[in-house]
Amino acid sequence: MVAARTDKIWVGHLLRRAGFGATPEELDRYQSLGYEGTLDELLNPEKVNNRKLEALIEQQDFDFTRIEDLKRWWLYRMCFTGRPLEEKMTLFWHGHFATGFKKVKHPYAMYTQNLLFRDYAVGNFKDLLMAVSQDPAMIIWLDNQQNRRGSPNENYAREVMELFSIGIGNYTENDIKEAARAFTGWQTNPAGFIFNRRQHDNGEKTFLGRTGNFGGEDIVEILASQPATGRFLARKLIRFFALDDPDDAMVRAVADQYLSSPYKIRPMLRAIFSHPDFFSDRAYHARIKSPAELVVGTVKTLQIRHLDGDLPTLMARMGQNLFDPPNVKGWDGGPAWISTDTMMERFNFAARVTGQKFDEIEGYFSPSELAAKEGLKNARELVSYFLELLVDGDVPQSTRKRLIAYVSSDLSGQPATAIPDDSVLDAKLRGLVRLIMTLPTYQLA
């Protein structure tokens, strides 16, 4: 199976997972680097010059006090960044430390939290956990602002263990109460994090079997050093990047990197993208695309240069509302992305992207132009070209045949008897791309 797929295919696979897919032009460049070269570049985002993206962002004149602008800003980054893995990890951390604007209500705090996730994208988890514990949006989201000496609020203490580090089953209710005391006085004001000494509980605490006059820093340190944290992160990273149902051996291999590095995310990612299971039929076109992957991947593959302001709303209807995950556990991902409702939204996103409404504006999708540029002459060539472009040609033979029949029919569905005029051809090409975008394979990264 592995041998049957070329390095070229695996580079595309890697870019769909470690990034959001690629434009044909980007794909050419990465393919010339080879798989290892591409992986090196992706894993070291700080070495990639990203000035082009920053200039593009500058032009848009986003207002970071408006949540709609914030969503579009992030979508621009995902679509046009030169550092795809950095952006993908930012999305991972947003889902991991899931914080919702609905409650935080300060767009700028959501923005600075997002910058934090990007700064630590492939960095040190202990440092990130510390920074998140002192992040204003998080402090508001999990109510640490109200966590005071003598009347602790347990919200952050519980979730930092259950969802952010060691996972359920590795602590007691008493550990939660004691950790909550350690985080008392960790507050925020408009300038950022503040340590409110008067509200901090200076007493002795017993946490995960250790006793001391612990502060929040100690809790973070202890949590980061637990092997359970490495396993928890490893499984979550593998499910996010590689496959739904990893074997224990793969989880162990990735978790080992966490403790030996120690606490670094970059080697964990390298272990995932180099693991044999990443190159198996269980991984290739087998993991369901998140709405972000679907939407951004489409923009890139079809080389759409102008972003429709509605894209974040469409993503939300597919189940991924940026800056507003469904709850503190984030998006479950995998099969949970798929329901009758979200499937219909995906079908209609395809209709929208390929729809005629866009053709007056330069930069939107134009299949006729593409077909002319590629010199595609007949239905078979058209179907082959778009299947290759969108899904590596990875469909059953019956699908290919049926698509050819669709393109060869006229607008009333009868086999075409005459050469269609340009507007009919354009409509059929848009219909073709729409149908390919509704295929099961297109929902798979």
Binding site: N153, P335, S339, T340, A351, P396, T399, K428
Partner: protein, 414 residues
């Protein structure tokens, strides 16, 4: 919380895709289109309302005669003068005016101090326990999923009814995770339609036909392909069916202007329109009131009560009210003592509500003690599986033992 379909895929459907031929599927599609609409009085329906986040029970059904309540909650307690009296001991939160009306009509049952042994205070684990009704292990199926597995008839290994249940929420709860069916989710029926370019209306049919052919015969030996294929076909079929039933609905009852009420109206439209579903799921979230509880919880309880009152009136106007029972659930109640942020942390037992024209209204069970606590939390008196068992046996006519794995005492609200 969200369904794992692994079991489903490795089980029935995995083999299904190998043995189903195209003529079978076409026959099934025709059958689904001709499904006999549900006639009034013929089927019993459960609407389950998830109050997500853990609703504070003590400020919902207020023990206003208890000094301990006021001692534990100097800032949060609801004064006896404000509560809507149920009897000399208990009153409802003042925002539950709709519920008091239903209570007076004998259409609201309050089950007190509902919980389960060894309570878990994690949102996600506790929700899973309520949704699977399996406190001791994490199962793959939900309690209503197992009910559907028992009652949904199959033709050629495929469920005969496309809509045995409908989830009116973006996320499918684990309660509806089944082995034989994938419960469809539809939270906005207006957008639930296969769209094509309006300028080429004729091509719509060509696209829909190509879509159906491709999906019906789409086989690739990969994870998730069968799931996508099945849900894609279901989505298309369900869309036709639901749009039809919603179009036939005529309503005179006015619902409050919020998303929860809109979704309740959609459920009423499906019930009145003859959709043949036994179970509807809907949720209202935001009950995780660690800070400034009063404003948040009051607003949510008002939405809950106003929405469900309108829903009940709508069902009555369509003469289908006797077919429907509503059950509210929440993953846990909250700590007895308030915290320092005018809120409450995760707790244990809490009351729940059962609503409908076919139930016996009243208060069931004793209130939890406010003096004998377990680590600051209420001790439950009624296992939630007693409530489920009562509904399964006495309302849905299913064998609760098969679904819950044991016999639980019945309550008398049905």
């Amino acid at each position: 919380m969200v369904i794992s379909r692994r079991k489903f895929l490795s089980g029935s459907l995995g083999t299904l895709s190998l043995c189903l031929t195209q003529p079978d599927l076409l026959a099934l599609a025709a059958q689904a289109a001709n499904l006999a609409p549900r006639a009034g009085g013929t089927g019993k329906i459960l609407v389950i309302v998830q109050m997500a986040g853990g609703n504070d029970g003590l400020n919902t059904v207020v023990p206003y005669a208890e000094g301990n309540y006021y001692q534990a909650r100097p800032q949060l307690a609801i004064q006896a003068s404000e509560a809507l009296p149920l009897n000399g001991q208990l009153g409802l939160n003042p925002n539950l005016a709709g519920f008091i009306e239903l209570f007076k009509q004998g259409k609201l049952a309050i089950v007190q101090a509902v919980g389960y042994p060894h309570p878990n205070r994690s949102h996600f684990r506790s929700m899973e326990i309520w949704q699977t009704a399996q406190p001791d292990r994490i199962g793959d199926t939900g309690w209503l999923g197992r009910y559907l597995d028992l009652v949904v008839a199959e033709t050629h290994g495929k469920p005969a009814n496309l809509l045995p249940a409908v989830n009116v929420d973006p996320l499918l709860p684990k309660s509806l995770s089944a082995s034989k069916v994938i419960v469809p989710s539809v939270d906005n029926v207006r957008d639930f339609r296969f769209r094509t370019d309006p300028r080429f209306q004729a091509d719509r049919q060509a696209q829909v036909a190509a879509f159906k052919d491709i999906y019906t015969s789409f086989k690739l030996n990969r994870p998730n392909v069968d799931l996508l294929r099945q849900v894609g076909l279901d989505a298309n079929e369900a869309s036709d069916l639901l749009l039809k039933s919603v179009r036939s609905y005529k309503g005179s009852v006015s619902y409050p202007a919020n998303q929860f009420a809109e979704r309740l109206r959609f459920i009423a439209q499906m019930i009145a329109g003859g959709v043949n579903s036994r179970v509807y799921n809907i949720s209202l979230s935001g009950f995780d009131t660690h800070v400034n509880q009063t404003r948040t919880q009051n607003g949510l309880l008002k939405q809950l009560s106003d929405g469900l009152l309108a829903f009940q009136q709508d069902l009555e106007a369509h003469a289908v009210d006797k077919d429907v029972v509503v059950l509210t659930v929440s993953e846990f109640g909250r700590r007895v003592a308030e915290n320092g942020g005018r809120g409450t942390d995760h707790g244990t037992a809490a009351p729940l509500f059962v609503i409908g024209s076919s139930i016996k209204g009243g208060i069931y069970g004793d209130s939890a003690s406010l003096s004998y606590l377990d680590q600051g939390d209420l001790k439950y008196k009624i296992d939630f599986r007693c409530v489920y068992g009562t509904i399964l046996d006495r309302w849905l006519n299913a064998d609760s033992r098969q679904i819950l794995g044991a016999n639980f005492d019945h309550l008398e609200f049905i």
